[in-house]
Amino acid sequence: MSQNTLAAHPPAAARTAAPVFKPRRKTGTFVFNALVFLLYLFLLAPLLIVVVISFASNQYLSFPPEGFTLDWYAALPGQETFMSGLRISLITASAVTVLVLILGVPAALALARFRFKGKAAIQAFFLSPLMIPSIVLALGLVLLFGPLKLNNTYAGIIIGHIAVTFPFVVRTTLMSLATTDTSCEEAARILGGDSWTVFRRITLPLIRPGVIAGGVIAFIVSFDEAVISLFVAESGLPTLPVQVLRYVENSADAAVAALSVLLILFSMAVVVIVERVMGLRKAL
C-alpha cells in the first residue's frame, strides 16, 4: 500500500504542483468531498425521509420507525380522494402533453428552419411563460375563466397548463433541430417529397430525442402542477397535487407518504427517460 503510493507519487507531483502541496491537498479533498456528501444528503433528505416513513408501522408520525409494513401502500386504492385526484391528473396531463406537442414541435420547426423578421422576439415570447410566477398566472386564469365558465372544467385546467409546459417542448425540440443537419431534408425535397412527407419520414425521426424529452417533461410538469390547478379547479376538479396539498395542510401524518413515494418514482422515471434521450442538464 505504502509502496504503491510511493510509486505513484513522483509523476503525479511533477504533473500538478510542488510536492509540499500534496498531503494538505489530500486532506482538503477529503473534507471537501465529505461536505459535498452532506449537502447531497440535505438535498435528497425530504425525498429519502418520505420513503422511510412510507414503510414505517408507526400509527402516528414519530421517530424512529417501529417496524416495517406495507399497510400504507395497501390502503392507497381505498382512498377515494386520492384515486379521483389521480384520475383527473392523468387525464389532464395526457391531454396537455398531446396538445403542447402539437403546438410546440411545429413552432420549433418554424423557428429553426425559417428566417424571418422578429424571430428573436417570437422565441423570447415562447419561452417567457417560465419567467412569470405561477401564482400570478393562476390568478389571471381564474379571473378570465370566471365569465367564460371555464373554472372547474378540464378545458380550464388544460388551457392553464399549456403556458407552463409549452416552453420545455419548444426548447428541447429546438435543441434537437440545431444539432441535426438539413442535408437529408433537402435531399428528400429534391427527390420530390412534399413538406408533410419530409417532416414525417426525415425530420421527425431525427429530432425524436427532443420531442420525447419535451413530451415527458411536459407530462410531469402538468401532472405535478399544483398552483394553477388549485386556483382554477380546487372545488370542482381537484387534481392529485391539490388533494395532497389539502391533506397535508391539515395533517402531515404518514398516510400520504406511500402516495408521495409513488409520485417520486414517477418523477424518477421521467428523469431517467430524459437523461437517456438527451441529458437532463441540457433539457431543463
Binding site: 400570478v136 442535408s183 405535478d224 431543463l284
Partner: protein, 306 residues
C-alpha cells in the same frame, strides 16, 4: 477544450441551415410557415397573454371583497396598500425571505456545483442528474418531506429529544425558519444548474498555476477561483431570489398560515376574501418587481459575460 467543442458543435447549425427550406419567399412556404407558427401563438395567447391582460384590467376596476366588481377605472387598489402597514410588512417579509433564501441557497449549492464542474469521475453524469433530478419531483411532496423532518414529532425533534438535548420540541414549522429551510433545499437544483453553466471559464490549470507560483490555498480561492465563478454565483442568487419571492406552496404549507408573503396574500385575497381587483393589483405589483429584477439580472449577466 470546452470552447473548442462548443464551437465545433454549433458550427454545423448555422453553417448548413441556410438551405432550400429556409427561403420563405414563395407563397407556399409562407403558408407553411404560418401554419407552423399560428397554433402555438394562439395557444399562448389563450393560456398566457389573455389571462395576464385580463388581470391587469381587473386591477383597475372598482370593487371590494365578496366578489363585488364594478367596471371602471381607479388606482385605488394600488394607492391604498401604500398607506397600509400590513402590506408593507408582507412585502418586506417577502423580500427578506428572498434575500435569506438566495444567500443560503448559493452557499450550500456552491460546493456541489464546484464538485460537479471539476469532477472527472465516470459517475459525473449520474451525480449531476441526481443533483438536478429533484427539480422534476412535486414541490408538494418535497415540502411534505420537510414537514416530516421539521415537525413537532418529526425527525429532528424526535432525535434531539431521545438524545436528551431538548424536552420541548423546537419550533421549526409554521414559521419562517421552516419555510426558509424548505425553500433553500427546493431551489438548490436551480442554483446548481445555474452555477455549473457559469463555471465554464474555471480551469484547474489556472488554479494549479497560481498554486505552483506560491499562492496559498486560500489565496488561490479568493484571487482565482472565486472571481472566475462569480458570474455563476450571481446568476444563481438572482434566480433563487426571484423564485423565492413568488413561491406559494412552501410558504403555505410550512408556514402554516403564520407566514404571510405576497403569494399567500394573493391566494387569501382571491379565494378567501374574493377581493379580485385587489388581488389583481397585488399580482401586478409582484409582476413589476419581478420584471425589474429580471432585467437587472439580464444586464448584469451580459456585463459580466462581456
Amino acid at each position: 477544450m470546452s470552447i473548442i467543442t462548443a464551437a465545433g458543435n454549433s458550427a454545423p447549425g448555422p453553417g448548413l441551415a441556410p438551405g432550400v427550406l429556409e427561403k420563405a419567399k414563395s407563397r407556399r412556404d409562407r403558408r407553411t410557415f404560418l401554419a407552423l407558427l399560428a397554433p402555438a401563438i394562439l395557444g399562448l395567447v389563450a393560456s398566457f397573454v389573455l389571462p395576464l391582460a385580463y388581470m391587469v384590467r381587473m386591477s383597475f376596476n372598482e370593487g371590494g371583497p365578496d366578489g363585488v366588481v364594478e367596471e371602471g377605472f381607479t388606482l385605488r387598489h394600488y394607492i391604498e396598500p401604500l398607506g397600509d402597514s400590513y402590506f408593507w410588512k408582507v412585502t418586506l417579509d417577502t423580500f427578506q425571505m428572498g434575500l435569506v433564501v438566495g444567500v443560503l441557497c448559493v452557499l450550500v449549492s456552491y460546493p456541489v456545483a464546484m464538485f460537479l464542474a471539476r469532477s472527472t469521475s465516470k459517475f459525473k453524469g449520474l451525480l449531476t442528474a441526481l443533483a438536478i433530478a429533484p427539480l422534476l419531483t412535486s414541490a408538494v411532496v418535497r415540502t411534505y418531506g420537510w414537514m416530516v423532518i421539521l415537525g413537532d414529532t418529526g425527525l429532528v425533534n424526535s432525535s434531539l429529544k431521545s438524545m436528551g438535548f431538548i424536552t420541548d420540541p423546537l419550533k421549526l414549522t409554521n414559521n419562517m425558519t421552516g419555510v426558509t429551510i424548505g425553500l433553500v433545499e427546493i431551489f438548490m437544483p436551480y442554483a446548481i444548474l445555474a452555477m455549473i453553466s457559469g463555471f465554464g471559464r474555471l480551469s484547474p490549470q489556472l488554479e494549479e498555476a497560481a498554486g505552483s507560483l506560491g499562492a496559498s490555498k486560500f489565496k488561490v480561492f479568493t484571487r482565482v477561483t472565486l472571481p472566475l465563478t462569480l458570474p455563476g454565483v450571481l446568476t444563481a442568487f438572482l434566480m433563487v431570489f426571484v423564485l423565492s419571492v413568488s413561491t406559494f406552496i412552501t410558504p403555505r404549507l410550512l408556514g402554516g398560515g403564520a407566514v404571510q408573503v405576497l403569494a399567500t396574500e394573493i391566494y387569501d385575497q382571491t379565494t378567501g376574501l374574493l377581493n379580485w381587483p385587489f388581488a389583481a393589483a397585488l399580482s401586478v405589483i409582484l409582476l413589476v418587481l419581478f420584471g425589474i429584477i429580471i432585467s437587472v439580472y439580464q444586464r448584469l449577466t451580459k456585463k459580466i459575460g462581456a
